[in-house]
């Protein structure tokens, strides 16, 4: 709870700083602030209380995920220094928006009431619409914003309808009450329908097939930093929320009662397989790196969805996977931000010869890509390992086989980028070594590897 308040306060402060005309300080201040928030969040760690008659429920799940979000936001904020240095007027707004977005995210994982959940989603989405369209004069950015906005609000319409039906069925928005009702023998059919609608809405947010079409376009169009944000923070928030929604409303058991479970699981399996496959295969032929990562994100969404086959036990795995994925993503994007700083596009050609001009960054990008591809000692590998382990335990070995085949395909495009970096001659000289970018890249990849070497650190938080 305090975390949420603190974050919001921080956002407001950012805006104030602009007014007090104290731009220089914004980034460091925010980072410090966020670190403080992180500390605060750790204090709440382990405690499970609910505030404002169950509007917010702080639980182990919410705190751990919130801290992940905060860490990611710290990185993103740090990156935005370099990103916005050419138009300083924007900086406070955009930092502030990111902070509010974080607030939305935290609200989403720690909701105790569907109203809070809806609010959170909307805060997040609206912030994202703004960020996506934030380059006013760039048509691409506008288009991205528009597409995201239209489809996003459509999706929130669906979600709202779902919530409404749930309410109709249960007569309450309170998670606890719903979860108790949902176990009762006979339920109006609206409840599952509502749940499914909400799920679909969330699947849109995490860009799972067939609700994924927006992702590549929006990722490509929006400013690189926003893309980074979407593909890491936003995706993680969405998947975490969906997970919490399904687990905390006892949706699975209630389905079991109406023996819809198998059908629901089939849906999940289908969607996750479809997402992996479509994502990976589509990524093969992409020239634009952001677009490629969008598709890779879709496939990762597919992987993450596999955790929904074992909701009861796989919170920790989900956390680990998201952490690994997001950290790798941050590292990758920080390099992309550096490379494509003054390019008008993010084509793979921009990366030619990076291995010669900036060996360190090239190494980091390689590492993060390898992590996404699931090569050992990078946490991406262990994430996949634990995921497969879980899924095989649940007896869905077929899904694992498909997943394996997919991770083979994925190597194909991840290595296209690596090849470009190492086997081509540099086609531009890259000047300057922006400290923050290097720092973020190194820290995030370091975290990624540490996670790989000591997976238990994170894994046991939720087991």
């Amino acid at each position: 709870m305090n975390t949420l308040i603190a974050i919001t306060g921080l956002g407001i402060f950012c805006l104030l700083f602009e007014i007090l005309n104290f731009r220089k300080g914004i980034i460091p201040f925010t980072i410090l602030g966020l670190l403080g928030v992180l500390a605060l969040n750790f204090c709440e760690f382990g405690s499970t209380e609910s505030y404002y008659n169950n509007m917010i429920m702080v639980s182990r799940f919410s705190t751990t995920f919130s801290s992940l979000f905060i860490v990611l936001t710290i990185f993103l904020v740090a990156l935005s220094h370099n990103f916005y240095e050419n138009h300083p007027t924007k900086i406070s707004d955009f930092v502030a928006i990111k902070i509010f977005l974080l607030a939305g995210g935290v609200a989403m994982v720690s909701f105790g009431n569907l109203a809070m959940f809806f609010l959170g989603i909307e805060i997040l989405s609206i912030a994202l619409y703004v960020l996506a369209a934030s380059e006013r004069l760039n048509l691409k950015s506008n288009e991205a914003g528009m597409k995201y906005f239209l489809m996003g609000s459509f999706a929130s319409g669906i979600i709202l309808f779902g919530i409404c039906l749930i309410y109709g069925a249960m007569g309450s928005f309170d998670v606890v009450e719903i979860s108790t009702y949902s176990l009762s023998a006979e339920l109006p059919v609206w409840f599952p329908i509502g749940m499914v609608l909400v799920t679909i809405g969330m699947l849109f947010k995490i860009a799972a097939v067939p609700f994924h079409f927006w992702a590549p376009d929006v990722y490509e169009g929006s400013p690189a930093l926003t893309t980074a944000l979407m593909s890491t923070l936003a995706k993680v928030v969405a998947i975490a929320t969906l997970f919490k929604l399904i687990s905390s409303l006892n949706f699975i058991p209630s389905l079991e009662n109406q023996d819809h479970l198998s059908t629901f699981e089939n849906i999940i399996i289908f969607i996750s397989i479809a997402s992996m496959t479509v994502g990976n295969i589509m990524a093969l032929r992409q020239a634009n790196v952001k677009r490629m990562l969008a598709f890779s994100g879709i496939s990762h969404a597919g992987f993450m969805l596999m955790t929904f086959l074992t909701v009861a036990t796989s919170a920790g795995v989900l956390l680990y996977y998201t952490a690994a994925y997001a950290l790798a993503g941050i590292a990758a994007f920080s390099v992309i931000l550096y490379v494509c700083k003054n390019q008008h596009n993010e084509d793979i050609t921009n990366f030619h010869g990076l291995g010669k001009t900036n060996p360190l960054l090239a190494a980091i990008l390689t590492a993060s890509l390898l992590s996404m591809a699931g090569i050992p000692i990078f946490s991406g590998f262990f994430a996949k390992l634990f995921l497969f382990n879980q899924t095989i335990q649940a007896g869905h070995i077929a899904v694992v086989i498909v997943a394996v085949i997919n991770s083979i395909i994925s190597v194909g495009y991840y290595f296209k980028l690596i090849l470009a970096m190492y086997s081509k001659e540099p086609n531009q000289e890259r000047t300057g070594k922006p400290f923050l970018i290097y720092a973020v890249a190194m820290i995030s990849i370091a975290l990624n590897i540490i996670l790989g070497l000591f997976p238990s650190l994170v894994l046991d938080l939720l087991n």
Binding site: A115, N142, S153
Partner: protein, 106 residues
């Protein structure tokens, strides 16, 4: 209130709202003018709001009606952002037909 509902029956409200909602959806699907698409989305939201109210009466419980305010506020905020984007698109493109937004693809 309750008795009216008893006469009419909640199902009809649901059907009505579903129909409205679908109208909204179809609007979104088939209209190319961004403004009208917005409006269709609004229809969807309002259909839901109506259903909220209906349910809240059905359950004899105010939460639903409160929620409607939430959703209205949120919708307003959304549309504000949306319109802002639309304006800048209009500035750059001179049109607000969503068919012109096909540069990002493949």
């Amino acid at each position: 209130m309750g008795n009216i509902l008893n006469q009419i029956g909640i199902e009809n409200y649901i059907f009505l709202c579903v129909v409205l909602f679908c109208i909204g959806i179809f609007g979104v699907l088939y209209r190319r003018n961004a403004i009208i698409v917005f409006m269709s989305i609004e229809i969807m939201l309002n259909a839901v709001n109506l259903l909220f109210v209906a349910f809240s009466t059905y359950h004899q419980d105010a939460q639903g009606q409160v929620f409607v305010f939430f959703s209205m506020a949120v919708a307003a905020a959304e549309v504000a952002v949306g319109l802002a984007i639309l304006v800048s698109i209009f500035r750059n493109l001179g049109s607000i037909s969503i068919d012109n937004l096909k540069n990002l693809k493949g």
